[in-house]
């Protein structure tokens, strides 16, 4: 065996390419909310590409009320220990120190999440300051680009977490894809005004107009409860799916988790979706969004 030449350059961590590239590896996959190491193992065995470690799933946060915060470090350590797939965890919007703690714990992605109670009503976290990459929620293109300008390396629709109702995720995904489509139709002169309207940096607006997509991976989140929900979000343009309460608030989590993984890959094959949808037991009980009081809507948190 010949010895190849040694590499000339010092390795560099935390680059935009490494952060965004991590999300590219998750595409076509399902990221599952888990609250214990046992659930994390069930998720991994079902084929999850990553788990989101949190203390309470959104459905329980809704039920219990009160301030929702970053999870206990012991609990996050336990989940990191339990699985070989990436582990994500949530910080409150604008809570720099929760994000610093999550980075120190060695999580693979931080979700600056509206599901937790916001810590700052004006500012999101400066995500460029971190080695750990961030995913953030968005309801429209302007919001997505503001998060990317703050350093987010992955975007997800907000949806309305903990409801088992996919209607808000559909609204946000259609809005983001529609906004991108409208940008594509503009000429260069019009992009400046579009940036102003979107309240987003011109450079990012121009990049989206040229690419026809976000410069980072776009997932869907919030209200996915069935294999068909996951496939719907992919048909609408999501590159992968977060599932929160939908798995471990259902009758047979292991089976439902595996079914959602399969439906996410074969999102355009109704026969596969029909097969995996059989005999899954009870889905989580859903909540209709229009009966939610304004103050209990998570999607309006963040701006």
């Amino acid at each position: 065996m010949s010895t190849p030449p040694s590499t000339p350059q010092a390795p560099e961590t935390g680059t935009a390419r490494v952060k965004r590239g991590m999300a590219e590896q998750l595409k076509g996959g399902v990221i599952m909310d888990v609250v214990t190491p046992e659930q994390a193992r069930i998720a991994e065995d079902a084929g999850a590409v990553a788990v989101m470690a949190l203390e309470r799933v959104p459905a329980d946060i809704r039920k219990d009320g009160g301030v929702a915060r970053m999870s206990d470090p012991d609990m996050i350590d336990g989940i990191i220990e339990a699985v070989s797939i990436p582990v994500m965890a949530k910080s409150r919007i604008g809570h720099l120190v929760e994000a610093q703690v999550l980075q120190a714990l060695g999580v693979d992605y931080i979700d600056e999440s509206e599901v937790l109670t916001p810590a700052d009503e004006v500012n999101h976290t400066d995500k460029w300051a971190f080695t750990t990459p961030f995913v953030c929620g968005a309801t429209n293109l302007g919001e997505a680009l503001r998060r990317i300008s703050e350093g987010a390396a992955m975007i997800r629709s907000k949806g309305e977490a903990g409801t088992g109702n996919v209607v808000e995720a559909v609204r946000h995904m259609r809005q983001i894809k529609g906004d991108i489509g409208r940008l594509r139709a503009l000429d260069n002169n019009e992009l400046f005004a579009a940036a102003k309207e979107l309240r987003a940096p011109y450079e990012l607006v121009r990049e989206v107009a040229e690419l026809g997509k976000l410069p980072v991976v776009l997932f869907s989140a919030g209200g996915v409860a069935t294999p068909a929900d996951a496939a719907l979000m992919r048909q609408l343009g999501a590159e992968g799916v977060f599932v929160g309460s939908g798995i471990f608030k259902s009758g047979d989590p292991a089976k439902r988790a595996a079914a959602i993984v399969k439906a996410t890959t074969f999102f355009d094959d109704p026969k596969v979706i029909a097969d995996v949808s059989r005999g899954l037991g009870e889905a989580m009980v859903g909540i209709n969004i229009d009966v939610l009081p304004e103050g209990e809507r998570y999607a309006t948190r963040g701006w």
Binding site: P4, V18, E24, Q25, G29, E44, P86
Partner: protein
């Protein structure tokens, strides 16, 4: 001419599209003159001259390949000499053995090597570094390593093409090629050109004979 492409310009190269950075590999393959195709089903696998196993989560890719009846057809085609390139998770899938598999995790195999998953660390340790790859002319490639594996040991038939900090990160054995890093995430398509060259050498479709 009725039906079929009038002019086949390069080999038909599949990208295993169960999960991972499929689109980036399709783009890179097209850029070096191959005809890229997504592969999710056995009949799609049967129709390609070469295959890329992309980056992604190796546990997820294995489970989906097993569930949808692709694992045995993949092993059969590798045994029959199909050129295959795997990056990151794809490298793990091409290894004969994983040092630290999840319980029940299997590979397609084909390269006589043992790999260690996430050997360079978690995401905070993911890095970029220049990597000299034997057989890739024009200077080092930009190596993007994301929770990357390394090769723990190789058998006599496997040729080490590149190392990083003393660990093998690119290996070739016959018509099989594997890298621990992700050339598909850069604009540099030289590794894909090397792979498509391997397919052409192996007799994959070329020229205008229309197959």
């Amino acid at each position: 001419m009725s039906g079929g492409p009038a002019h086949v310009t390069g080999p038909v190269v599949g990208v295993l599209a169960l999960q991972g950075d499929v689109r980036e590999h399709l783009t890179a393959l097209a850029a070096v003159g191959a005809v890229p195709r997504q592969v999710r089903r056995p009949e799609e696998l049967a129709a390609v001259d070469g295959l890329v196993i992309p980056g992604g989560e190796s546990t997820t890719i294995f489970k989906l390949a097993a569930a949808f009846g692709l694992l045995e057809p993949l092993r059969e085609r590798v045994r029959a000499g199909l050129p295959v390139y795997g990056s990151c998770a794809g490298m793990i899938m091409l290894a004969d053995k994983i040092l630290d598999p999840r319980s029940g995790q299997e590979t397609v195999g084909g390269i006589d090597m043992i790999v260690r998953r996430n050997a360079f660390g978690r995401q905070n340790e993911s890095f970029e570094a220049a990597v000299e790859v034997a057989g890739v002319p024009g200077g080092p490639v930009e190596g993007v390593f994301i929770r990357a594996p390394w090769v723990e040991s190789t058998g006599a038939a496997a040729e080490i093409l590149a190392e990083h900090e003393g660990h093998p990160v690119a290996v070739r054995q016959g018509r099989l090629l594997a890298t621990a890093f992700h050339p598909e995430l850069t604009g540099d398509h030289r590794v894909h050109r090397l792979f498509v060259g391997m397919i052409t050498e192996a007799g994959g479709a070329t020229g205008a004979d229309g197959a």
